[in-house]
């Protein structure tokens, strides 16, 4: 900084100490981050890694746990249910989320009101929201009573503890994760492009198809991936409102831990984690996804 100016006598006398001081300064950022890094390594990352290692060394070093997965009917079925549920839920969120995102961006005076309705469930815990669906979908719940009152069914039908209940509740829980990135992308569209399109004679539908939809794809991609990855790991909701036989990967892992089958539980965990990471790694290369991810995570 002050290389050009004449060094003061004090600075000269400190000359010998200076490199040391400079070195110390250079490590300040690392010293600030180190406590948290050590904390997280010891209390979270190493425990998770140690657990995952059990998939390879239980009882001795072996790949047999992974090899066994290929012939494992329970695993195949669970993986299929988990994947299938995640796809259904993601599609549901996309279909319901896109119109709301458009409504949110277009609305003027209503915008704060719409935002609160989107954020209120977002701020409520997954447990409470799953409980809300237990109340609504039960045998004597509001949905059954309503359908009977409308004359659509004669007696209560079973909705709670079926895959449908899981899907409805998960869509409800994950919808904000889809809406917010899409709204973010829609907000960044230059309004003059839309005016230009309609000025050139495009119908509102054509403007939507050819201008708005393509320009919002980065938000759609981000919301879809985020929703899908979060859906893969769902545990509480399917356990509470889902069918007793519709077990997701997370539920199977918890079951295996209860039975102290650590090798199997760790193998399933590794598969679940690898699937989530692979999807996110692939997603990083999509344009605009990284950015939208960051904003939606906050």
């Amino acid at each position: 900084m002050s290389e050009i100016t004449q060094p003061s006598p004090v600075a000269v006398s400190l000359g010998a100490v200076r490199p040391l001081l400079l070195n110390w300064r250079r490590h300040v950022p690392l010293l600030l981050v180190a406590p948290l890094l050590i904390y997280m390594l010891v209390l979270y990352a190493l425990p998770v890694l140690a657990m995952l290692l059990r998939s390879l060394n239980d009882p001795t070093w072996t790949l047999s746990h992974y090899a066994a997965l290929f012939e494992d009917v329970v695993f195949a079925k669970t993986f299929w249910i988990t994947f299938n549920t995640s796809i259904t839920v993601t599609l549901g969120c996309l279909i319901l989320g896109y119109p709301v995102a458009m409504g949110l961006v277009r609305a003027k005076t209503m915008a704060p009101f719409i935002l609160v309705i989107i954020l209120l469930p977002f701020w409520t815990s997954v447990l409470v929201r799953s409980y809300a669906w237990m109340v609504l979908l039960g045998r004597h719940g509001l949905v059954n009573e309503g359908l009977i009152a409308l004359g659509m069914i004669d007696r209560p039908i079973r909705i709670l503890n079926t895959p449908l209940a899981t899907q409805i509740a998960m869509i409800h829980i994950l919808l904000p994760y889809m809406i917010l990135p899409i709204a973010n992308a829609l907000r960044q569209i230059d309004p003059s492009l839309i005016r230009a399109a309609s000025g050139l004679g495009a119908t509102p539908f054509m403007t939507f198809r050819q201008v708005i939809l393509p320009l919002s794809m980065s938000g759609v991609a981000a919301g879809t991936l985020l929703t899908f990855v979060l859906a893969l790991g769902f545990y509480i909701t399917p356990a509470m409102v889902g069918g007793p036989r519709d077990i997701t990967l997370s539920m199977l892992i918890a079951q295996q831990v209860d039975q102290l089958n650590w090798g199997y539980a760790a193998t399933l965990s590794a598969v679940l984690l690898a699937t989530a990471l692979a999807i996110l790694a692939a997603a990083r290369h999509l344009p605009g996804v990284g950015n939208a991810f960051k904003t939606s995570m906050r």
């Binding site: 300040v28 950022p29 690392l30 600030l32 981050v33 406590p35 948290l36 890094l37 904390y39 997280m40 209390l43 979270y44 190493l46 425990p47 998770v48 140690a50 657990m51 995952l52 059990r54 119109p99 709301v100 458009m102 409504g103 719409i114 309705i117 989107i118 954020l119 209120l120 469930p121 701020w123 409520t124 815990s125 997954v126 447990l127 409470v128 929201r129 409980y131 809300a132 237990m134 109340v135 609504l136 039960g138 004597h140 509001l142 919808l175 990855v229 790991g233 545990y235 509480i236 509470m240 997370s250 892992i253 918890a254 650590w262 539980a265 965990s269 984690l273 989530a276 995570m297 906050r298």
Partner: protein, 259 residues
């Protein structure tokens, strides 16, 4: 034209109804006088709130949850703010490693985190100790503190710090008198998120709370296995109000900070 707009508005309205309705129903049911779950309630009253406030079975987990969440706020805000101050100035490989590790709890499926923590904590006899809940929840809460403080720091004009330093303030004085007041909203938002993350957390609690550190979500979960009596609706409504108030505060702070 008007018809299509009306149609679009009603579609959006219906989806918003779908979002809000379940939560409204829980709130309404919580004021029911009936001894079982039914909607609409035959009569309204505070019966289930009284049941909650008179039950040691519910109040004890509530205190555990509040204590754990408050401790998590202190620990996560301290560690997270320090880290946020350093992370942007790290060398590139170190920065990628640090952000990857710090943000990973947002991406790693909850069950994987939970059983990993259970696996290690059980070996050291930590299961059933409230302090173990604090240690584990801090890891889950810290990403929110780091992202929130980092966002505040990104909006900070570096010339303010430079001016302070060139006017002779020590780095310490510059931090306390210039940097910290400017990033305080970000730190507060991070702290609020940390509180809610811990207060609402269930999956880790299922594995490590044992019998000695039963938190409120864990107590609700245990109760739901046997019955869905309206006490849970009352507890849920109280937690909805608490978290919505805190989140609303966080949202307001962040908006005001951006403006």
């Amino acid at each position: 034209m008007i018809l299509t707009r009306l149609l679009a508005a009603s579609v959006v309205g219906l989806i918003l109804f779908f979002l809000a309705f379940p939560i409204v129903v829980v709130a309404i049911v919580s004021f029911s006088e009936a001894t079982y779950l039914t909607f609409p309630p035959p009569a309204f009253g505070l019966r289930w709130y009284k049941a909650y406030f008179n039950s040691e079975d519910w109040l004890k987990p509530t205190w555990v949850s509040l204590w754990v969440a408050a401790s998590v706020v202190v620990l996560a805000t301290f560690l997270g703010t320090l880290a946020a101050l350093g992370v942007s100035r790290l060398s590139r490989p170190m920065r990628i490693f640090a952000t990857g590790l710090i943000l990973s709890p947002l991406i790693v499926p909850g069950i994987v985190v939970a059983i990993g923590i259970y696996y290690a904590y059980a070996r050291y006899g930590l299961v059933g100790m409230p302090i173990a809940m604090v240690l584990a929840h801090t890891c889950l809460a810290v990403p929110f503190v780091v992202t929130s403080v980092t966002a505040s720091l990104a909006g900070l004009d570096p010339r303010l710090e430079q001016a302070s330093l060139s006017l002779g303030a020590t780095p310490g004085a510059t931090f306390w008198q210039v940097t910290l007041p400017l990033i305080r909203p970000g730190v507060l938002v991070g702290a609020l998120f940390a509180f809610i993350t811990s207060f609402d957390e269930l999956i880790v609690a299922l594995f490590i709370s044992g019998t000695g550190a039963v938190t409120l979500p864990r107590r609700m979960w245990d109760d739901l296995r046997f019955q869905i009596d309206p006490t849970i609706a009352a507890v849920s409504t109280l937690t909805i109000v608490l978290t919505a108030a805190l989140m609303g505060a966080a949202h307001y702070l962040r908006k005001r900070n951006q403006a």
